[in-house]
Amino acid sequence: MSASHDQHHPMTLSGELRMDTGVIINKCYQCGKCSAGCPLSSEMDYPPSLVMRMLQTDDPKNYDKLLKSMTIWLCVSCEMCLTRCPMEIDIPRLMDNLRQKSVRAKKTNPQAKKIIAFHKSFLDSINYTGRLYEMGMVVDYKMRTGAMTQDVMIAPKMFVKGKLNPIPEIIKGRKKIAEIFNRVQNNKEVKL
């Protein structure tokens, strides 16, 4: 991680986050409403308000802890924290940024493997066909995680109910979609 964008004016971590996301970390005065409303905070290693406090310290050690945390992957982007924040701090946007930096720095928490695998399988499917092919994605996910037996019991019932499409929907512009995947910045991580 580069702590400095300018040799003469080394940028603080919170400054860098502000530049990337527009979020002003120091607005947080630790009221704790985000952590109280967060549906996942009980499962997180650092609840959202503590994430804010850790970022306020501008300490690289704290920043490193966050990039390695489960918190950033447990956040489901439900936007409850932002909704209830008296300072309207966009924590979900911050979480997106931290997740992307965590992947790029190869610091993702090993316990988040399944969650990240799901996202990657999802994007892979879009990259190839333009749309999500649910069956293909689940098979891809199983290959990535080894969870071969998971949910096999509900598959037949889903099939009978017409909820499993055996044939992928391939769009005509699938090459255009592949081009989009090629053109976006930092695309290496999503294409793995």
Partner: protein, 305 residues
């Protein structure tokens, strides 16, 4: 007028019945929905979790394709897609350099002028006025309207309904002859995209939602999102295990509720496709209670006047 339609991926697979019911309901009111040609996936949670530019480019392509067809309104029944399209439209409108970058990535013209309508906004714009006169079979059940996250949040961008106690779906249920109950979990998260990667978390979150509705005597839950639906409906075995209680309350899409009220049959609306069986016992068409309540409210007003 052409009304654009963006079904999104889940309505072609796991949420087939949502598309069936939306299209059938529109037909009752002589509305033709035109699918955006060659649409792609919006990228959903996976894209914005892993790559910002990708998360904006995929929805931008969809809106650009709609513009090319001269479509001004896009109906997006999936709350997650609705959210991604709306957020993208907002972000590209706010930041001109980001917009030109994304336009370059998708290699299409994009003006950002299309209206993005969620299912309730679509119904309110084109159907609600004519709804009550079309109701032939009032949906006479205690109904918990579940809005979830992405339909109402973030409010600053979506500007749709109230964030903590939304009412728009409750109003539609009432107009369909139902009783929208007051309950506490209207906008709590169901666990969203963790259905596969963290099923136990989804069982807890969705279980708490169903439990509150059940405790408050709801007979049916109504949703406007395929992700919420699959968690609340398909994950029922895991939910019941978490609650240590069997909850048999069916979960319907709002388009199915309205469809039933205007006389469409269960099969046309895809009710047979739900994993939790939909059993809605016939009830006397109108119970006297709501009428009496409204009388009581009406009288004091008259006295004041």
């Amino acid at each position: 007028m052409k009304i654009g339609f963006y079904p999104g991926c889940s309505m072609k697979g796991g949420a087939r019945e949502y598309q069936e019911s939306v299209v059938a309901l529109a037909k009752v009111f002589d509305i033709e929905l035109v699918e955006i040609p060659d649409w792609n996936c919006c990228g959903a949670t996976a894209a914005h979790n892993l790559n910002k530019e990708l998360s904006l480019s995929l929805p931008a392509r969809i809106m650009a394709l709609a513009e090319k067809e001269g479509i001004t309104d896009i109906v997006v029944p999936c709350a997650a897609c609705y959210n991604r399209l709306s957020v993208t439209k907002h972000e590209l409108a706010e930041d001109a350099s980001l917009c030109s970058k994304v336009t370059g990535i998708i290699d299409l013209k994009y003006s950002g002028k299309t209206n993005i309508l969620n299912i309730i906004q679509f119904i309110d714009k084109y159907i609600t006025d004519k709804l009550e006169e079309k109701v032939v079979k009032p949906f006479n059940y205690n109904t918990a309207c579940y809005y979830g996250c992405l339909l109402v949040r973030p409010h600053a961008i979506l500007n749709f309904d109230r964030v903590e106690d939304p009412q728009s779906m409750d109003v539609l249920v009432k107009k369909s002859g139902g009783n929208a109950i007051d309950w506490a979990f209207k906008t709590e998260c169901c666990g969203a995209g963790m259905s596969v990667s963290r099923t136990d978390t989804v069982a807890r979150l969705s279980g708490d939602i169903l439990k509150d509705a059940s405790d408050r005597k709801a007979e049916v839950m109504v949703v406007a999102c395929p992700m919420c639906h699959s968690n609340l409906d398909m994950r029922r075995p895991e939910i019941n295990k978490y609650l240590d209680e069997k909850i048999s309350m069916p979960v319907l899409y709002i388009s199915q509720v309205l469809g039933l009220a205007v006389g469409l049959d269960a099969k046309t609306l895809g009710l047979n496709r739900h994993m939790t069986e939909v059993i809605l016992p016939d009830k006397p068409v109108k119970n006297a209670e709501p009428a009496e309540v409204s009388k009581k409210v009406a009288n004091p007003e008259k006295m004041e006047a």
